[in-house]
C-alpha cells in the first residue's frame, strides 16, 4: 500500500468533473479528503490523502494531470512515536540517509530528522510501526 498527501488545484472548467469517482473506479485508489474549497473565481483546491497500489497511484496522478489539474505533494515529515519505538534497530537497515542510526556502545537508536528525506521506507519496515508520516498542516488552514 502506497499513500501520499497531495494538493490538487483545479482550473474552473473542470470543477464539475467526477474525478473522485474515477480515481476509485478506474484506478482502485482510495482517498481521504482533508480540505476542499471552491474559490469565488471558480477555481478549486483540494487536499487529499490518496492511497492504493504504487503503480495505480502513478496512473491516477497522470490522469489528474491530463485533466489540467495541478498536482503537488505536500511537505511530509516523518516523526517517531517514542512510546511505540522499542529501540531495536531494524529501521537502520532500510534508511538510505543515515537519519536512523545506532549510537554505540549504548546501542541506542537515534532519529535525526534533519537528515530524513521522507522516503518512508522505515514507516513499513519498523516492526512496531513507530515511524509515522505527518504532513505539513499549513495548507489546511
Amino acid at each position: 500500500m502506497y499513500s501520499k498527501t497531495i494538493s490538487l488545484r483545479f482550473p474552473k472548467n473542470i470543477v464539475g468533473e467526477p474525478i473522485a469517482a474515477t480515481l476509485v473506479k478506474k484506478f482502485d485508489l482510495s482517498f481521504n479528503i482533508l480540505k476542499a474549497v471552491i474559490y469565488p473565481r471558480k477555481e478549486g483546491l483540494m487536499v487529499l490523502q490518496l492511497s492504493g497500489h504504487k503503480k495505480n497511484y502513478a496512473k491516477g496522478v497522470q490522469y489528474l494531470k491530463g485533466l489540467g489539474v495541478k498536482v503537488e505533494s505536500i511537505g511530509e515529515d516523518i516523526k517517531r512515536d517514542e512510546e511505540k519505538c522499542y529501540q531495536c534497530g531494524a529501521c537502520t537497515a532500510v534508511c538510505p540517509t543515515g537519519a536512523l542510526s545506532i549510537k554505540r556502545p549504548e546501542m541506542e537508536v537515534v532519529f535525526d530528522q534533519e537528515k530524513c528525506s521522507a522516503c518512508e521506507w522505515c514507516v513499513v519496515a519498523c516492526p512496531a510501526r513507530a515511524m509515522e508520516v505527518k504532513f505539513n498542516k499549513t495548507l489546511l488552514n
Partner: protein, 388 residues
C-alpha cells in the same frame, strides 16, 4: 593455605535474599567482574546474574477462557478483533496465537504485505486493558443451545487468561544476509540485495541461555521475568536442540536450546508484550524474557561471565540458500563484531543490524536485578532441568 572452592545452593542464595544480603549483577556487569577477579573470586562475591531479551518471538500466544453466557454456547469458531483463535478445546476455551492474521487481511497479495494487525496485537491490546470484540459461532447442542456470540471483553472481564509460549528465548540465532539481486522480506527483517545488510536477533552476552549454556540451573519450574510479570519455564521449547556445535566456553555456534514459557497474562505489562508487523512476512509478538542465573560455583561464574567477543553465530544467505532448506554458513562472526556495526563476509563489509533491542534487554536485566534484591523474586530449584 588455598581457600575452599565455593559451592552454594539455591537455598543459600534465597536465605541471603531474605536477609537482604544477596549480591545481584546484570550479565554485562558480570563480564567485567570475571575478567578482573577471575571466576573463583566472582563466584564468592556474586550470587545471582540477571539476563534479558526483547525480540519478536513468533511461537507465542495465550489460552483464554471467556466464561459461559446465558444461554450457554459451545464455541466452534472464535475471533478476537477479527483475528481467529483456535477453538478446538472445551466450550469457552480458546488459544490465540501471535502470528494469526484476520481472515480478510490482504496478506502477501500485494507484496510485501504490511500485516498491520494480528494475534500479537490482540495480546498487546488485551494486556493494555483495551476493549476487544469477541465473536464466536457454534453448531448448538442440547446442553449449549446458543449458536452466535458477539461481545466486548477486556482482560479483567476474562475468568482466565494465561500466556503460553511454545518456543521463546532461542539460544543463539542465525545472522541473515541476502545475496540475490532483489530486496527480500523475511522474518529476519528487510534484507537488501547483494549483501546490503546483515540482520541478527540475539541480545548476545545479555541473552538468558548464553549465560547457562548447558542448562545447569534452569528447567521446569524456574521462576523468571515474562512480559513484565513473574512467569515460569515449563521445559524445553519446540525445536530445542542441545546437540548443536559448541565453542569451548559452552555457548552454541548455531541455534540450539529453546524454552517453553508461561505466565499470567493478567499480571503483565503492555511494554513487554508488543504486537509487531514483519513486512512481507507476518504478525508476531515481541516478548520480554529475563532469567536469573544462580552463581552456585566458579563454573557458573565462568559461564555468566561470557562476553560478546566469545559468542559466535553463522551468517546465512536468506536469498538463495535458506528458502531451499539449506543453511550453509558463509562466515562465523562474534556478537562483538555484530554489535560494532559491520561484519566481513568473504571480503565484503556488510552493515549489521539488530532486530533484538539491546536497550530493552538491559532494562529487563535491571528490573530482574531489582526484584531479586528486594526479595520480590526468590530463585527456584527446577524440578527437572532441560535435556542437554
Amino acid at each position: 593455605m588455598a581457600k575452599k572452592k565455593v559451592t552454594k545452593t539455591i537455598d543459600d542464595i534465597n536465605r541471603k535474599i531474605k536477609e537482604g544480603k544477596v549480591v545481584v549483577v546484570t550479565a554485562d556487569e558480570m563480564v567485567d567482574i570475571v575478567k578482573k577477579s577471575g571466576a573463583e573470586k566472582a563466584a564468592r562475591e556474586v550470587d545471582v546474574v540477571t539476563t534479558g531479551t526483547f525480540s519478536p518471538m513468533c511461537s507465542s500466544g495465550a489460552f483464554i477462557n471467556f466464561g459461559h453466557s446465558k444461554p450457554g454456547l459451545k464455541a466452534s469458531r472464535v475471533w478476537l478483533n477479527d483475528v481467529p483463535a483456535y477453538a478446538g478445546l472445551a466450550a469457552v476455551d480458546c488459544y490465540i496465537g501471535a502470528t494469526e492474521s484476520p481472515e480478510d487481511d490482504p496478506l502477501n497479495r500485494v507484496h510485501p504485505g504490511e500485516f498491520k494487525y494480528g494475534g500479537g496485537h490482540v495480546l498487546h491490546d488485551l494486556v493494555a486493558g483495551k476493549k476487544i470484540e469477541l465473536r464466536a459461532t457454534a453448531y448448538g447442542t442440547d446442553c449449549y443451545p446458543k449458536t452466535q456470540l458477539k461481545k466486548k471483553i477486556t482482560l479483567s472481564d476474562l475468568p482466565y487468561a494465561v500466556m503460553l509460549n511454545p518456543r521463546n528465548a532461542y539460544q543463539n540465532y542465525n545472522c541473515a544476509i541476502n545475496l540475490t539481486k532483489k530486496t527480500i522480506y523475511t522474518y529476519m527483517g528487510v534484507l537488501k540485495p547483494n549483501g546490503g545488510n546483515a540482520n541478527y536477533a540475539t541480545s548476545g552476552e545479555l541473552s538468558p541461555l548464553f549465560n547457562d549454556p548447558y542448562y545447569r540451573t534452569i528447567g521446569l519450574g524456574s521462576r523468571i521475568f515474562l512480559g513484565g510479570a513473574k512467569g515460569y519455564i515449563l521445559g524445553p521449547g519446540t525445536q530445542h536442540n542441545p546437540e548443536a556445535m559448541r565453542h569451548e566456553n559452552g555457548t552454541p555456534l548455531t541455534p540450539a536450546g529453546t524454552l517453553m514459557l508461561s505466565g499470567n497474562l493478567k499480571e503483565m505489562d503492555p511494554r513487554w508484550v508488543l504486537g509487531v508487523s514483519m513486512l512481507g512476512y507476518g504478525c508476531s509478538l515481541a516478548v520480554g524474557v529475563g532469567i536469573p542465573i544462580p552463581v552456585l560455583n566458579s563454573e557458573l561464574a565462568e559461564f555468566t561471565g561470557v562476553s560478546d567477543e566469545h559468542i559466535f553465530t553463522q551468517v546465512i544467505d536468506y536469498g538463495n540458500d535458506y528458502p531451499k532448506g539449506e543453511g550453509k554458513s558463509l562466515a562465523q562472526v562474534s556478537y562483538a563484531e555484530l554489535k560494532s556495526g559491520s561484519i566481513r563476509v568473504n571480503g565484503q563489509e556488510i552493515p549489521s543490524v539488530p532486530l533484538s533491542s539491546h536497550k530493552r534487554a538491559l532494562e529487563i536485566a535491571n528490573i530482574l536485578k531489582d526484584w531479586v534484591e528486594k526479595g520480590e523474586l526468590l530463585l527456584t530449584q527446577p524440578q527437572e532441568t532441560l535435556p542437554n
